[in-house]
Every structure is written in structure tokens, then in C-alpha cells.
């Protein structure tokens, strides 16, 4: 049985190599071209479009921020409702969780294509696309954090006569909110990286310029754009990492 599986695997691999035309002979000319392009990348130059680039970079950051905030705001109630600790025997938990699994398994770029078709070109489609992926992941992570929260504070609030709301607010939220905020920040970082590529399918941000520059072989502008992206991604990473460590310290 095992041997059969290996055989099937080997056969499929061979097919894959053949299908993508993988051949060492192809990589050498490619490498040569890459070397030539690298030489043309320097010095980086905005081609008189520096401000335009900066503004679309801001748009990219805006897309990432809006998507993260919306995802977090929506994931909060969904995550709570998804936990048995908040709503025992809730009939909708199963469809809710499966729906989340589904929306998470579709890549942001694919969502972006769908939304560009649905709501037209531009940053709004980008926001929706990133939000779809993050919403489900955040809600799921949040649900699990609530599931695994310790029963102690809940008992303490119940024993004093607290109602359902008060139990959630004081028994559960203080335990899970810091982790939730940290996760949201982590998604902000990852969204900034994702948002830079969304422009490729017309969903707004710096990616749009990058695609144009690549199409017309403006290599100096390409390197300038990449440098700007690198700088902003690094800045957001730093900021968010700092905020997360602050959260950890505070909790």
C-alpha cells in the first residue's frame, strides 16, 4: 500500500516537472537576464513621480488598516458567539465555524478578483478582500481563546449574582482581550504586506504602479517602489511589534 502511494507520488512529480517544462537548460539564460535587470535597477529613481508613489503607498497602508479594523470589529462578536462558553448548545455554531473555514481557505488575491468584479476597481475591493480572510481567522482564533479561558473568574462573577453579560465582560474578556489585540496587530502587519500586491489585480494601492512600471521595463522606478514598500513594511512591523510587547507587559 505504502509502496503504491510512493509510486503514485513519483509519477505525479514526473508529470509536474514535464508539465511546467522544468529543465536546467532554461534557467541559465534567465539568470543572465536577471543579472542585466539587476544592473538596471540602480540607482533607484522615482521618475518625477515620488509624491504619487508615496500617496499610493499611503493608500496601501489605509487598505491594510481599514481591513484589519473592520475584521477585528466584526470578529469580536462572531468569535464570542462561536464559543460554547458564551452560548451553550447554540445551533448556529457549526455552520458559523464551517463558513469561517471556507472563507479562510480562499486566498486574499482571489477574494480581490471577486470583489473587483463585484464593487469595481479600487481600494474598496482590496479592503473587502483582506477583511474576508482576516475576519474568519481572527474570529476562529478568538473563539478558541474564549474556549480555553480559565473558568475561575467566571465562577467569581456568577457567585456574586452576575448575569450573562457581566460574566462575559468580567469573567471572560479580561482573559482574552490582550491576546485578541495582539492577533489583530499581527494581522495588520501581514495585511500591509498583502496590500502591496493587491494593486496587481486592480484592488488599489502601490501594487498598481508596480505592475505598470514592470510592464514598461522602468527598472529604476521599480527599485524605487520596492524600496518604499520595504521601508513602510519595516516601519509597520516595528511599530506593531512594539505595541504587542507593550500589550504583553500590560496583561
Amino acid at each position: 500500500m505504502n509502496r503504491l502511494l510512493w509510486l503514485a507520488f513519483a509519477a505525479f512529480s514526473a508529470y509536474a516537472f514535464w508539465a511546467v517544462d522544468l529543465w536546467p537548460g532554461r534557467i541559465w539564460p534567465g539568470l543572465g537576464k536577471l543579472a542585466r535587470i539587476s544592473a538596471e535597477l540602480v540607482p533607484p529613481d522615482a521618475g518625477g513621480q515620488f509624491l504619487t508613489l508615496v500617496f499610493s503607498l499611503l493608500e496601501t497602508l489605509g487598505i491594510a488598516l481599514a481591513a484589519t479594523v473592520m475584521a477585528a470589529v466584526l470578529a469580536f462578536p462572531l468569535g464570542l458567539l462561536g464559543s460554547a462558553k458564551v452560548l451553550p448548545n447554540w445551533l448556529w455554531r457549526w455552520p458559523l465555524r464551517r463558513g469561517m473555514d471556507l472563507s479562510r481557505s480562499i486566498d486574499a488575491l482571489l477574494w480581490a478578483l471577486l470583489f473587483v468584479n463585484a464593487v469595481g476597481l479600487g481600494p474598496f475591493a482590496g479592503v473587502m478582500a483582506l477583511m474576508m480572510v482576516d475576519l474568519s481567522t481572527l474570529a476562529k482564533l478568538f473563539s478558541e481563546a474564549v474556549d480555553h479561558s480559565s473558568p475561575g473568574p467566571v465562577e467569581g462573577v456568577l457567585a456574586a449574582g452576575g448575569n450573562r453579560w457581566e460574566v462575559v465582560r468580567f469573567g471572560i474578556l479580561p482573559q482574552v482581550l490582550p491576546a485578541f489585540a495582539a492577533q489583530a496587530l499581527y494581522y495588520l502587519e501581514s495585511n500591509v504586506r498583502h496590500a502591496t500586491i493587491l494593486g496587481v489585480v486592480g484592488a488599489g494601492g502601490i501594487g498598481m504602479h508596480l505592475t505598470d512600471q514592470l510592464r514598461v521595463n522602468e527598472w529604476q522606478q521599480v527599485s524605487m517602489t520596492i524600496l518604499l514598500i520595504l521601508a513602510s513594511v519595516t516601519a509597520v512591523d516595528r511599530l506593531s511589534r512594539w505595541a504587542r510587547s507593550e500589550l504583553e507587559r500590560g496583561s
Binding site: 475561575g152 465562577e155 467569581g156 462573577v157 457567585a159 456574586a160 448575569n163 457581566e166 468580567f170 479580561p174
Partner: protein, 249 residues
């Protein structure tokens, strides 16, 4: 009113076929301090949790001052829990919040939910809570996160909370089992004080018989879900002690 008492009558509870409380009956006149002893697994915690309905008993009756506790529903059940406080071995406080907020949570049933959810408490409540913390020598710790307090300090916060709650009955589930002798003395003195000056009826699970002897008016012995001893600390002789803790496992 003439005869205020906590009455437990034929209380039964089983977990998946395993009997934990096997027809427990006793009556505690208001204002008494009762120690409940018994080996681990005897059902002491389950008994207390049935009384404030954190656990639902299978059969039997629980009464307090004309109240049929097992029949309470909705708001009336929450009212009962507010009148009947509980402190725990592991404190069960909101340990990521400060001591003052935890004490204020004792007033949860008397105040409206919405402001509470935003941690908005009446100024008078805040003053009262601070005063209670000061009485328990915790004034300087009022703003400190509970998690960073020592065990003895946390248990005193829990006591301030039930004082804020204004309880008539106090259920204490091994309140001193994780404390050193010094803190054990402080906490037990507080419970005694609550009972003597506040007229609070105290039911206190204890695994240290010496503590039960020196602080309680009366001792109940539980073994395998049955009441096997009910008497004064003096009556709890070495022989009787053995019979409580013997019992085949």
C-alpha cells in the same frame, strides 16, 4: 422571620452514575459558623455549589428564610446568589483587573448592567469599596492588578468583595488551603468577624481540623456524600475524627 435558617433536606447529586451527595440533610440557624470537613472527594465543594446553584442538585430541598432555593429562576436566582456569597480556595477573582474593580463587582446585582460593562461605578460605591479594602489593610493595593497580589492579599480582596455584596450567607470553599498560617489566621478571623458582628451565616469547607476546631461553632463531617458527623468542636474526638476520614474509597 422568627426562625431564619438554612435548611438542606435530602440533597442528592450524582455525576454520571457516581453518587457524590447521597441524601444530605441538616439545618443551620442564621448567624452560625459551621465548618465542613471530610476527605478529598467527599462532596464538600459540590454541597456548597448546590447551595448557590453553581451546580444543580438532582433531588432534595434547599431553603433560606422562606425561600425555595432550588425553584429559583432568572433574576430571582441571581438575587439569591447575591445574598449568598462565595469565596474559593483559588480566589476566582478577575485577576487581570485591579483590586478595587474586583471589590466593586460585589455590587453587580444592585447596579444596572450597562454602566457596569463600561466599568462605570457610582462614586459612593467606589468610596465604599476603597473603605472595605482599607479595613482589610489593602488600601495601598487598591489599584494593583490582582494577579500581582499575594495569595493572602487576594483572599482578602475576595472577602472585601462579599462585604460589598452584603451577604447573608457565606459559602467558603477551603478559603485557607493555599495560605500560610499567618494568612490563615487573618482570613479566618475575618470570617469569624463577619459572622459575629454582621450576623452572617458561614459554611466553611476546611481540610485542617485544627482550624475547624478553633473557629467554628459547629462541625459537619462528610464522608462519601453522607453526613457522618454533626456536633460541636468538643464532640469531635479522635475516635469520631477517624470515622469521618476512614470510609473505604
Amino acid at each position: 422571620m422568627a426562625h431564619r435558617a438554612l435548611t438542606i433536606d435530602g440533597l442528592r447529586k450524582a455525576y454520571g452514575g457516581k453518587t457524590v451527595l447521597d441524601g444530605v440533610s441538616f439545618e443551620v440557624p442564621a448567624g452560625q459558623m459551621v465548618g465542613i470537613v471530610g476527605r478529598s472527594g467527599a462532596g464538600k465543594s459540590t454541597l456548597l455549589r448546590c447551595i448557590n446553584r453553581l451546580v444543580e442538585a438532582d433531588a432534595g430541598a434547599i431553603g433560606w428564610d422562606g425561600l425555595d432555593v432550588r425553584a429559583l429562576q432568572g433574576g430571582a436566582l441571581l438575587d439569591w446568589r447575591a445574598r449568598c456569597g462565595m469565596i474559593f480556595q483559588q480566589f476566582q477573582l478577575v485577576d487581570r483587573m485591579d483590586a478595587l474593580t474586583n471589590v466593586l463587582l460585589g455590587s453587580v446585582r444592585r447596579r444596572r448592567t450597562l454602566p457596569l460593562l463600561f466599568r462605570v461605578f457610582p462614586a459612593a460605591d467606589r468610596a465604599k469599596a476603597l473603605e472595605l479594602l482599607q479595613q482589610l489593610d489593602l488600601g495601598p493595593q487598591a489599584g494593583q492588578t490582582v494577579k500581582t497580589l499575594s495569595g493572602g492579599q487576594q483572599q482578602r480582596v475576595a472577602i472585601a468583595k462579599v462585604l460589598m455584596q452584603g451577604v447573608e450567607v457565606l459559602l467558603a470553599d477551603e478559603p485557607v488551603s493555599s495560605l500560610d498560617p499567618e494568612n490563615t489566621r487573618i482570613v479566618m478571623d475575618q470570617l469569624r468577624h463577619l459572622q459575629r458582628t454582621g450576623g452572617v451565616t458561614v459554611l466553611c469547607n476546611l481540610h485542617n481540623l485544627e482550624v475547624a476546631r478553633s473557629y467554628c461553632d459547629r462541625v459537619l463531617g462528610l464522608s462519601q456524600g453522607r453526613l457522618v458527623f454533626d456536633g460541636s468542636p468538643q464532640e469531635l474526638t479522635a475516635g469520631r475524627e477517624e470515622s469521618i476520614y476512614a470510609g473505604a474509597r
